[in-house]
């Protein structure tokens, strides 16, 4: 989780990712950010996130992203 938060903070230092629950819906993360996150996360955790999982619900909060990462790790 900390690795993830680090990636996120790097991208948007001004956002408090631990409390935000609507990152995509409120437009804090745009499509460029999401691709960057996916790339970084794939790199860091050595997983592949399928394109079909890139939906707002999976990126609206740090927790959601972490859940996605764990699911992908399980499937590996």
């Amino acid at each position: 989780m900390n690795d993830l938060l680090e990636i996120l903070q790097d991208l948007h230092p001004e956002v408090d990712f631990e409390t935000q629950e609507n990152l995509v819906d409120e437009g804090i993360l745009d499509s460029f950010d999401i691709v960057t996150i996916v790339t970084e996360v794939s790199d860091t955790f050595d997983i592949r996130i399928p394109a079909g999982d890139i939906i707002p619900e999976n990126f609206n909060s740090a927790k959601a992203i972490y859940r996605l990462i764990q699911r992908c790790m399980d499937e590996e």
Binding site: G27, D30, S31, F32, I34, V35, T36, V38, T39, S42, D43, R48, I49, P50, A51, G52, D53, I54, I55, E76
Partner: protein, 529 residues
């Protein structure tokens, strides 16, 4: 059948009546029939295309679903005895097989789209090269371009990808799926619906209720107001300006640019209002396609608010899959190693973005104008992305952020920029467009914008008065819409006042609509996309 025709209005009334008079379990079946009639009235041959798309995508969807189910079952049964590597290999093999089904569906349908829409464009370009090297030109082919083929093809492809990604389960009933492809209100110009959204209300029984019928009709009326009173009237002057670029340069080109921005907005959002309103009368919910786009403060925001369903389609089905693909991940790693972190990280994203905007451009029309227009958007977005640090410094220095004058400046800037790019829609070819853009700066004479010279464009002073009043009304309604649905607020008025509002709007459409003999009814701009 154009939306702005008596035939369409007659078709609507008949459809509404039959829809609510037949037993409710037949309603969706009737809609399918209505869609095919609507389509056949345009050209019976179109039916072959839409039937092929419906059948092939349905088939691939079922096939995928069956394969997925079979695999899950076998995998659950047999995975115990396998080690990690074997499981992975098995999964990979299965993934490949599924991908083949997906590709079969995608390529066959995209192939039809490409052949019907882009063959002649390809021939033009090949000819340009051949003649440059002294060769002979190939003849053009006369191909049928089915109405709305881009819309229903994209909608169907989105469905198949969603099934492939397990976002939705495949529709079992082929007729219900066929209805999703051929739902008539959105057949002509979108929005591009997602199966997961539209299917929620598409095939369920709907009781006639004033709660959705009345707002639906109101929305249709508002759509006709935009379309008939504003768009079709404005189009006259737009056409006059672009038809004669030698005469109408400079300030005229500038006026034409703004006129076209208004015309396009009123035409397209009006058409979508008619579509969504029609669906609403039928009790069906269609995704919104616009959110006051001309109030955007930046081009990225604009593209989140203009033709939304198209933007999200490109993002979800092209941009994301492409950016997270293995190839792009590799490129990312390679870039970081050889070009440094900063550039390496961006390279794949920008490459995908380029692809998206190229496709967006060519999707709008088979010509270089649209490609350049799409790439123009790409360039502007990239520049604003790259300049973001600079903006940040600017904002730190000058505390303008969030202040009203600054917001207005941002909005005006965005509208002007988008309108400028839209000039590629209008003029014959790309060089001419650049020339006209240039003329706005080199030969701008303010006197050309006087009413006396604008009335030479086929519209009278009264027409400009109507346009001005209409635009003000449009803006006010748009502003009021920020605080929630305007129609819902009107609903709280006393009955007599409500009647007055809607009958007043009806009168405006009837009296000031630019339709009928002497007025040439224009096609919806997005008809053949």
């Amino acid at each position: 059948m154009l939306f702005a025709s008596y035939e369409f209005i007659g078709f609507l009334i008949l459809t509404f009546l039959v829809y609510y008079l037949i037993p409710r379990r037949w309603q969706w079946g009737f809609l399918l029939l209505a869609g095919y009639i609507f389509y056949a009235l345009a050209d019976p041959r179109y039916l072959l295309f839409i039937l092929f798309t419906s059948a092939s995508i349905y088939g691939c969807g079922r096939w995928l679903a069956a394969r997925k189910a079979a695999f899950r079952e076998r995998f659950a049964r047999e995975k115990e005895g396998l080690d990690r590597e074997r499981k992975k290999a098995w999964k990979a093999a299965e993934g490949k097989a599924q991908k083949r089904i997906l590709l079969l569906g995608l390529l066959s349908n995209l192939g039809i789209l490409a052949v019907t829409k882009y063959t002649n464009f390809a021939i033009v370009n090949v000819n340009a090269i051949r003649t440059a090297f002294g060769g002979s030109a190939l003849p053009m082919v006369d191909l049928l371009v089915p109405m709305g083929i881009s819309f229903y093809t994209f909608q169907s492809i989105g469905y198949l990808l969603d099934v492939y990604w397990d976002k939705i389960s495949a529709e079992k009933n082929p007729l219900k799926f066929a209805l999703f492809v051929s739902f008539f209100p959105q057949l002509v110009q979108g929005p591009i619906s997602r199966f997961g959204d539209l299917s929620k209300t598409l095939c369920i029984p709907h009781a006639p209720s004033a709660e959705h019928i009345v707002p639906g009709l109101e929305r249709i009326l508002w759509g006709y107001f935009k379309k008939l009173v504003i768009a079709d009237r404005m189009l006259v002057a737009v056409k006059a300006i672009i038809a004669d670029p030698d005469t109408y340069g400079g300030a005229f080109a500038f006026a034409g640019m703004l006129f076209y921005a208004l015309e396009l907005y009123a035409d397209f959002t009006g058409g979508i209002d008619i579509t969504i309103g029609t669906a609403q009368v039928l009790g069906i919910e269609v995704t919104e396609n616009f959110r006051r786009p001309y109030f955007s403060k930046g081009i990225k925001e604009y593209w989140k608010r203009w033709h939304i369903t198209m933007g999200t389609w490109f993002t979800d089905y092209i941009f994301y899959p492409m950016s997270v693909s293995g190839g792009m991940q590799k490129l990312n790693k390679w870039g970081r190693k050889h070009l440094g972190d900063r550039i390496g990280k961006r390279l794949p994203v920008y490459l995908c973005s380029f692809a998206v905007w190229f496709t967006t451009g060519i999707w709008h029309g088979a010509s270089w104008n649209f490609i350049v227009w799409g790439l123009g958007n790409f360039v502007v977005i990239m520049i604003s992305q790259e300049l973001e640090p600079l903006y940040d410094r600017f904002h730190k220095r000058f505390a303008v952020e969030g202040r009203t004058p600054w917001k207005i400046f941002q909005v005006v800037r965005t509208v002007l920029l988008m309108s400028l790019l839209r000039m590629f829609d209008c003029y014959r070819d790309v060089p001419l467009t650049f020339r006209m853009m240039g003329s706005m700066f080199t030969s701008f004479h303010i006197r050309d914008l006087a009413l006396s010279s604008l009335t030479g464009l086929g519209l009278g002073a009264a027409d400009y008065g109507i346009l001005l009043a209409g635009t003000i009304l449009l803006t006010l309604v748009s502003l009021a819409g920020r605080k929630g649905s305007v129609r819902a607020r009107i609903m709280t008025f006393p009955v007599a006042a409500q009647c007055a509002v809607w009958f007043g709007l009806f009168l405006l459409v009837i009296l000031f609509g630019y339709y009928g003999i002497g007025y040439e009814s224009s096609q919806f701009i997005y008809n053949q996309f």
